[in-house]
C-alpha cells in the first residue's frame, strides 16, 4: 500500500444519500479474479445509458468535464449494502484518494482504509458548504493533523481517524504483515481456547 499524508484537489460532488455499493460497482462486474480495472465500471448504470459506453448520461457528474479531482464528496450513508471490496477498488482505480461524506457504512469504511482510500467524515453543515462551493473551491486534507479545509473560505474541520489506521496510511503499512507478526500469540491463544 502506498503511503498517503496530504491531499489537495478539486472535487467531484455527488450530493446523493445512501449511495450503495451496487451503484458504485454493479454485481455483474464482480466476476474478475484480480483487483484491477474496476474504475471503468465505477457508477456504471448512473454513468451510461443502456450499459453503453458510447452513450454517457450527460447529467451524471463523472461525465461533466468541469468536475474532476482526487476527492469524491457524497451524501450521508455512503457505501451501504454489500461488503464487496470491489467498490473501494473501483473508486481507487478511477483515481480518487479520498471520499468525503457526513456518514459512512461500516464495511465500506474498513474496505476503503484497507486500500489506502481515506474516508473523511465531516459534519452535515460542512458537507453542505463543500457542495455549495464544489465548482470553485479545492479541498485540502491533512492526515497527520486530521483536518479538512475548504480552501476558498478557509473553513477547517477536524475528522476522526483511528490512530492505528492513521499510522498505516501515513507509512503505507499493511495489516497482514502486522497479523503475521502475531502468529505466535495466535497459536498460543488457540492452545488456550481448546
Amino acid at each position: 500500500m502506498k503511503a498517503l499524508s496530504k491531499i489537495n484537489s478539486s472535487i467531484v460532488p455527488l450530493p446523493i444519500e445512501n449511495v450503495d455499493t451496487d451503484q458504485i460497482i454493479p454485481a455483474r462486474f464482480l466476476k474478475a479474479t484480480t483487483r484491477d480495472g474496476f474504475g471503468k465500471n465505477l457508477f456504471r448504470d448512473w454513468r451510461y445509458e443502456q450499459d453503453d459506453e458510447t452513450k454517457p448520461k450527460l447529467n451524471f457528474i463523472l461525465n461533466q468535464p468541469e468536475y474532476s479531482g482526487e476527492i469524491l464528496v457524497a451524501g450521508k450513508n455512503f457505501g451501504c449494502g454489500s461488503s464487496r471490496e470491489h467498490a473501494a477498488w473501483a473508486i481507487v482505480d478511477y483515481g480518487f484518494k479520498a471520499v468525503v461524506s457526513s456518514f459512512f457504512a461500516d464495511i465500506f469504511k474498513n474496505n476503503a482504509l484497507n486500500n489506502g482510500l481515506l474516508p473523511v467524515t465531516v459534519s452535515e453543515n460542512f458537507l453542505q458548504s463543500i457542495f455549495i462551493l464544489s465548482n470553485t473551491s479545492t479541498l485540502s486534507i491533512d492526515i497527520e493533523e486530521q483536518t479538512i479545509t475548504i480552501d476558498q473560505i478557509k473553513q477547517t474541520e477536524k475528522f476522526e481517524l483511528n490512530p492505528y489506521k492513521k499510522t498505516c496510511l501515513l507509512n503505507g503499512y499493511d495489516d497482514i504483515d502486522f497479523l503475521l507478526s502475531k502468529r505466535t500469540a495466535i497459536e498460543n491463544f488457540e492452545k488456550e481456547l481448546s
Binding site: 450499459d51 461488503s83 471490496e85 474496505n111
Partner: protein, 466 residues
C-alpha cells in the same frame, strides 16, 4: 456489572487489543465463496503463504452459479473462470469445498446452519454482508471485505474495532399473516437504512423467543440493511433442537458439554447496552418496500409518504429520486398494483420453512397469467426436502418454476435477472437500483406477501386470501 451476549463472545476471542486501535479477533469459522475470495488467495500466494487454518475454512459456490442445468459447464465464461478458480484454490490450500454438484452446495448462509457448522458462541466471518444470518444461533458473525478475507487466510484473525451494542426488544403476538420478514422490514423502516450503523444488535423479547430458527435467521440476515455490523439472538431450546443431529453438530458426551457452555450465552440482567429499542409486535402489519433502500418500507395497506410533507431536505430528495426510479407516486397505495415477477429465494427467505409456508398458501391455486414466478431453494438439501415433501408438485401445479440452488435473482450475477422497468416482488434483502438487473424495480416482502401477489398478479394484502 454483567455482560452482554455480544461481549461474552467477543471478549473470549480477542487475542490482543492494540493500544488506541482495533483488536486482533480470532475467527472460529470462515466461510468463503467464488466472488470475494480469488483476490485474497492471490494475495497470500504472492506472500508465499498457505491458508493458516484450512480446516476452519468452508467453501461453496453460490453467487454467480446458474440455477438451471448445474450439471453442465457454466456458459458464462467469466462466471466459469471464477468458479474454477475457487476449485483450484480450495485444492491448493486443502479447503473443503461444497461446489456445484455437491449434495451440500447452496447459499453460504443457508448451508452453514443446516449442516450444523454454525454453532453458538462462535465467531464467524465471510466476504459477504449477510453473514449476520449466523447470529441467529448466538454467534458473533459479520461480513468482511476481501482484504479481511486475506487477513483470515493468513492468520485466522481479523483486525476489528469493537462496535457499540444495541438491543431490540420485541414483545407480543404477531397478527395473522405477519412473519419474521415483516418484523425486520418494520424495524428498518422505523430506524432507517443507517439507523444501526456502528452497532451490533441483539434481538430479544417474547416474540423472538417464539420464532423458529429459520425465522430468526431471516431477522438476523437483514441486520446489515440498517447498517448494523451484525445481529444476534441468544441460543435457547429452539436453537439446540434445531442443531441436534445435524451433520457437523457435536454428538454424545461432546454434545452435552457444548450444550452446557451454550446455555451460558445470554445477556446478563444487568448488562448495559449503548442503545435499547422496544417494538410492539402486535402493531406490525405485512410490510412492503416502495423505494430503493430497505428502509423505505410501509405496511401493505398504508400509503407511500407524501413527499411534500417530509421536513428533511436530504430525505425528501432521496425519496423523490427513489420514486422516480420505481415509477411510483407519492401518497398512493400499492395495493392492486400489477407486478410482472415474483422471486422467492435468497439467503433471507429460501429455507424449507419459507417454501412450506408458500406451498401451504397456494395449494390448489394457480398463479396469475401475467406474472412469472421463480422459486430458488437456498441449497441442494432444501431442494431435496421440497421434493420429499411433495412441495414441488404444489408449485408446478400453480405454475411456479423451481430452480436449482444459488443466490440467483437476489443480485442478478447469473442469468436470473428482472428486465428493465418491470416490477418484481421479491423475498430477498435489497431493493437497490439495478440490484436484480439494470433498471429492474424490486419490492421487498415476505414469502407470504410474495406468494399472494403470484396468485392475484397484483400487490395484495395476504390477510385477505389466508
Amino acid at each position: 456489572m454483567g455482560k452482554t451476549l455480544f461481549d461474552k463472545i467477543w471478549d473470549k476471542h480477542v487475542v490482543e487489543k492494540i493500544d488506541n486501535g482495533p483488536s486482533v479477533l480470532y475467527i472460529d469459522t470462515h466461510f468463503i465463496h467464488e466472488v470475494t475470495s480469488p483476490q485474497a488467495f492471490k494475495g497470500i500466494e504472492k506472500r508465499g503463504l498457505k491458508v493458516f487454518r484450512p480446516k476452519q475454512t468452508i467453501a461453496t459456490a453460490d453467487h454467480n452459479v446458474p440455477t438451471l442445468n448445474q450439471h453442465l459447464p457454466i456458459k458464462d465464461a467469466l462466471s466459469r473462470m471464477q468458479v474454477e478458480a475457487l476449485i483450484e484454490n480450495c485444492n491448493n490450500h486443502s479447503i473443503e469445498l461444497y461446489g456445484l454438484g455437491h449434495p451440500y452446495q447452496g447459499i453460504v448462509h443457508v448451508i452453514g446452519p443446516e449442516l450444523g457448522i454454525t454453532q453458538p458462541g462462535m465467531t464467524i466471518v465471510c466476504g459477504d454482508s449477510h453473514t449476520s444470518t449466523h447470529g441467529a444461533f448466538g454467534t458473533v458473525a459479520f461480513g468482511i471485505g476481501t482484504s479481511e478475507v486475506e487477513m483470515v487466510f493468513a492468520s485466522q484473525c481479523v483486525l476489528q474495532t469493537k462496535p457499540k451494542t444495541m438491543r431490540i426488544n420485541i414483545e407480543g403476538d404477531l397478527q395473522k399473516g405477519v412473519v419474521s420478514k415483516d418484523i425486520i422490514l418494520y424495524i428498518i423502516s422505523k430506524i432507517s437504512a443507517s439507523g444501526a450503523t456502528g452497532y451490533f444488535v441483539e434481538y430479544a423479547g417474547s416474540t423472538i423467543r417464539g420464532l423458529s430458527m429459520e425465522a430468526r435467521m431471516t431477522i438476523c440476515n437483514m441486520s446489515i440493511e440498517m447498517g448494523a455490523r451484525g445481529g444476534m439472538i441468544a441460543p435457547d431450546e429452539t436453537t439446540f433442537n434445531y442443531l441436534k443431529g445435524r451433520k457437523f453438530a457435536p454428538t454424545g458426551e461432546q454434545w452435552e458439554l457444548k450444550k452446557k457452555e451454550w446455555e451460558t450465552l445470554f445477556s446478563d440482567d444487568d448488562a448495559a447496552f449503548d442503545e435499547v429499542l422496544s417494538i410492539d409486535a402486535s402493531a406490525i402489519q405485512p410490510m412492503i418496500t416502495y423505494g430503493t433502500n430497505p428502509g423505505l418500507g410501509i405496511a401493505i395497506n398504508a400509503r407511500i409518504p407524501v413527499t411534500d410533507t417530509i421536513p428533511d431536505e436530504g430525505e425528501r430528495k432521496n425519496i423523490i429520486k427513489a420514486l422516480e426510479y420505481m415509477g411510483l407516486q407519492s401518497g398512493k397505495s400499492l395495493i392492486g398494483m400489477p407486478v410482472q415477477h415474483v422471486f422467492i429465494g435468497s439467503c433471507t427467505n429460501s429455507r424449507i420453512e419459507d417454501l412450506r409456508s408458500v406451498a401451504a398458501l397456494i395449494k390448489g391455486k394457480k398463479k396469475n397469467d401475467s406474472v412469472q414466478v421463480m422459486i430458488v431453494p437456498g441449497s441442494q438439501q432444501v431442494a431435496r426436502q421440497v421434493k420429499e415433501e411433495g412441495l414441488d408438485i404444489i408449485f408446478s401445479e400453480a405454475g411456479f418454476v423451481i430452480r436449482q440452488a444459488g443466490c440467483s435473482a437476489c443480485l442478478g450475477m447469473n442469468e436470473d435477472k428482472i428486465p428493465a422497468g418491470e416490477y418484481c416482488i421479491s423475498t430477498s434483502n435489497r431493493n437497490f437500483e439495478g440490484r436484480q438487473g439494470a433498471g429492474a424495480r424490486t419490492l421487498l416482502a415476505s414469502p407470504l406477501t410474495a406468494a399472494a401477489a403470484a396468485i392475484t398478479g397484483v400487490i395484495t394484502d395476504v390477510r385477505e386470501i389466508i
